[in-house]
């Protein structure tokens, strides 16, 4: 799935950010906005920076995802002047923060489970050889 560390993950062909599993993109957006309120372009830039350029996002999917999160009450937005331009700035609501905490915990459980399975497989392969 990951290939090499230099290979960027495109959300069009990878299950991590695939449109069929929008939950992961939502989790990333909530994670970025937990740091500070940001507008759309800054969110995309911040995601790129924080992931070290690993996530090559389809930027067109970010805006509907932000609107979905706002509709479900996890984000709220205000129009304001940022660096001389009128922009829509998103921030996490209290419900969004709670959802992020729950998603983080679920994500850690998934990572732990996958790591445990991969660890065991590696150990078995090592014993067989």
């Amino acid at each position: 799935m990951l290939g090499s560390a230099d290979m960027a993950i495109r959300d069009t062909d990878d299950p991590v950010l695939d449109g069929r599993t929008p939950g992961n993109l939502d989790l990333l957006l909530l994670g970025v906005l937990a740091r500070e309120p940001l507008h759309g372009y800054a969110i995309i830039a911040s995601l790129g920076e924080l992931s070290g350029g690993l996530f090559d996002l389809n930027e067109g999917r970010v805006y509907p995802a932000l609107h979905r999160l706002e509709r479900t009450g996890l984000l709220e937005s205000v129009w304001g002047e940022v660096q001389g331009r009128r922009r829509r700035v998103y921030r996490l609501t209290r419900a969004g923060r709670r959802a992020l905490d729950a998603e983080r915990a679920a994500w850690r459980r998934t990572v732990d489970a996958v790591s445990a399975v991969l660890g065991r497989s590696t150990a078995r392969a090592g014993r067989r050889s």
Binding site: H39, Y41, N58, E59, R61, Y63, P64, H67, R86
Partner: protein, 221 residues
């Protein structure tokens, strides 16, 4: 068309053309995407790179329209429920005002259709309002969009039936019951009745229209 154009101007024009949303939502979406491209160009990204990173404008417009319409629908459902409650409140006001007139004791034969009509309207209002309230959840709406649409149409139909049949009933009854309002007074009452119904029907019809549009979007997605 599924490819992104090479210029921001063309991208925004195609995005605008592909949006199916209310005017206020259209302005907000176009402003937001225009700000995105302005930021990208300020970061020395070329127009072609910026547009291709966002993707085909029609696809983005479709996804944005769906979200904007679902959000509008959620507000619309509250309008609809408020309309039903306002109508219910108007009925209670009417019941309080009735005794002030001279038609407190009509012949008993006239009670049945009156009460039946009131009961049917109240039951439809409660059932329809309850159904739509339950369907505020987008997940449920995607599964039962047809039910939500049927409930909204039933409410509009019942409102029309109530106003038309109710006014006919009152006019017929006035010919039987002594001391009923004069035709001029009844005409004024009927006109007020129709005006209230029109005020209530507007959000109901708007909500039904949104439900129909969102149901179509949900099916096509």
């Amino acid at each position: 068309v599924t490819t992104a154009p090479a210029t921001v101007g063309e991208w925004l024009a195609r995005f605008d053309a592909a949006l199916i949303v209310a005017p206020a939502a259209r302005r907000a979406l176009c402003d937001e995407l225009a700000a995105h491209f302005a930021d990208a160009l300020a970061d020395d990204v070329t127009e072609a790179t910026a547009t291709s990173a966002v993707g085909a404008p029609e696809q983005v417009a479709e996804a944005c329209s769906r979200e904007a319409n679902l959000a509008a629908l959620q507000r619309g459902v509250w309008l609809l429920i408020a309309g039903v409650l306002a109508l219910g409140a108007a009925w209670y006001v009417g019941i309080l005002v009735y005794p002030l007139g001279q038609w407190v004791k009509p012949p008993a034969v006239l009670y049945a259709p009156h009460h039946l009509g009131l009961g049917a309207w109240a039951a439809t209002g409660v059932l329809g309002g309850g159904t739509l309230l339950a369907l505020r959840s987008p997940r449920l709406l995607r599964r039962h969009d047809g039910l939500a649409l049927a409930a909204a149409i039933a409410l509009v139909a019942m409102l029309v039936l109530h106003v038309v049949a109710g006014n006919l009933y009152v006019w017929l009854r006035n010919g039987i019951v002594p001391g009923s309002p004069a035709p001029e007074a009844q005409l004024a009452l009927s006109a007020a009745h129709l005006a209230i119904a029109a005020v209530v029907a507007a959000p109901l019809a708007t909500a039904a229209g949104r439900l129909r549009r969102v149901a179509g979007l949900c099916r096509s997605s």
